[in-house]
């Protein structure tokens, strides 16, 4: 017999096997999830969840698909959090501090409480990446925020009303498009393809009998 623990889903008590994630425990209890469940693998941020262990004061947050149940867990899912997402034309923004001031001025109202960092389900230094964004240091903001799954938990805790994941998204796109080094071999290859450099070679492969294709495939030289 599996070991069971008692958890409270939206306040209601259920007894569930201890080795389940919160997400699986909800399904075990009989919920059919529509919201709050996407990749089931820690990437999409659909399953933001807050909980408190009975008897403790600390409010914790996590991804339901990545976190095991514990005895006495009071669980509430946060399948949607109203973030502010400003729209912009990436082709028209300039990689300067002014972009942040214009689109997300509230980041300058950060009070430095660090609640965002404490709440982050990915253990990111959220307050720090907001500080980088304030300074227009998009490269550092992008780096620091890279693992963000945009679950929105940090924003739910922020007294300044900042939508951290959207700020970071903007920084990463600016970094990717404008600040990261240009890739010459990529541009060259696209040119070559457009110029028809490989057309004949590919045409030949399109016609080759399967047996010859097998020959080619089984005798490839493989880059070390």
């Amino acid at each position: 017999m599996e070991n069971m623990v008692n958890i409270y889903l939206f306040g209601k008590k259920y007894s569930v096997p201890e080795n389940l994630t919160i997400m699986c425990a909800m399904e075990y209890a009989g919920y059919q999830l529509v919201r709050g469940c996407g990749c089931r693998n820690g990437f999409c941020g659909a399953c933001a969840t807050i909980y408190r262990i009975k008897g403790e004061t600390e409010l914790k947050s996590c991804l339901a698909c990545q976190t095991k149940v514990e005895e006495g867990m009071y669980i509430a899912t946060l399948p949607f959090f109203p973030l502010v997402k400003q729209v912009y034309d990436l082709n028209k923004v300039t990689p300067s501090e002014a972009v942040m001031m214009q689109l997300y001025p509230e980041i300058y109202a950060c009070v430095g409480c660090n609640a965002c960092t404490k709440a982050c389900t990915q253990d990111l230094n959220v307050m720090q990446y907001i500080a980088y964004a304030q300074r227009g240091d998009f490269e550092k903001c992008a780096e620091e925020s890279f693992d963000c799954v945009m679950c929105g938990v940090c924003s739910s805790r922020c007294p300044a009303g900042i939508s951290h994941p959207q700020v970071a998204m903007l920084a990463r796109r600016i970094n990717g498009k404008y600040l990261a080094p240009k890739c010459d071999h990529l541009e060259d290859r696209v040119q070559e393809i457009n110029n028809g450099t490989f057309t004949e070679l590919i045409e030949a492969l399109m016609q080759k009998p399967i047996e010859e294709m097998k020959e080619l495939y089984n005798n490839r030289d493989i880059e070390k």
Binding site: N19, N41, F43, C44, F146, G176, P181, V190
Partner: protein, 344 residues
Amino acid sequence: MYSKKFQKSLAAVEAAREANIALEPRRMTAQEKTDLLAAYHPDYKQDEFETLVIGPNKGDKVPKELAATLQAHSRITPESVDLSTPDYDVDVLVIGAGGAGTSAAIEAHEAGANVMIVTKLRMGDANTMMAEGGIQAADKPNDSPAIHFVDAFGGGHFAAKRELLQRLVCEAPEAIQWLSELGVEFDKTEDGTMVTTHGGGTSRKRMHAAKDYSGAEIMRTLRDEVLNRNIPVVDFTSAIELILDENGNAAGAVLMNMETKELLVAKAKTVIIATGGAGRMHYQGFPTSNHYGATADGLVLGYRAGANFFTQKLFSTILPEPLIPSRSSARWLPKRYVLSAQSL
């Protein structure tokens, strides 16, 4: 933190680590590969397949679980929908907001079309979000689309449709460029050279990654771009039937709100099906890494509207092949994902 059972398994891995490190894996011979596949791979276990008795692929064999859904009754009756007053009327209806669907929507919008997206969960709750490994394109000087062609054709056991493969290998570099210009942060060295690695069975290092978040980085960027363009996204809503016009061309879809079960009608000049894979059908009881919504919906939608499968062998639950460098709808994507109005 870990359970006892897990700790035990962890200890076993640790105990075997030295031996594992010392082991030099060699490439399998063609025969060894064939034998292994025949014994274990779900695509090759014949008794797990069933012959279709109705529809355009009548007589073909498909996984049993898929046969059951393809040949099932519709979940709605004609009386339950009113086609005369559509809730949406657009040029392009994109079904599914993964990498393929969002890319198609962005390109359609760029071309000036009035486009909308309908998607089962949230935009980006999709397999694309989970493709950690990377995306392949032959853009290095020691590589070429022709070498990529041979690798992928062999990797797919010589079953691929060559016209599609040609597109894939020739357009992959441009797709990487397109994504870079949207701000996707591919791994590069300081001089801008792409950091590339081997993918399963490749002869050149052509897998581009964005740390171990490749698909997530692509997906969140595409999602941001869709939002920037104000393309309407109807989320938590599934397409459940295609609507055909009097000539048999796709003219829209019946949609269902996943939460309220309300039925809606979308009318469209072009319909793009980009509903992704089938992992969550758990063919042959196989576990899957697929996202929650990967239940072959597009195959069923298309089949019921009369579309032919291009091959019934493509229902692999194990998917080591390259991320489809998806851009504009039918021009970029294999038929398996996109059935444009013309092909229906």
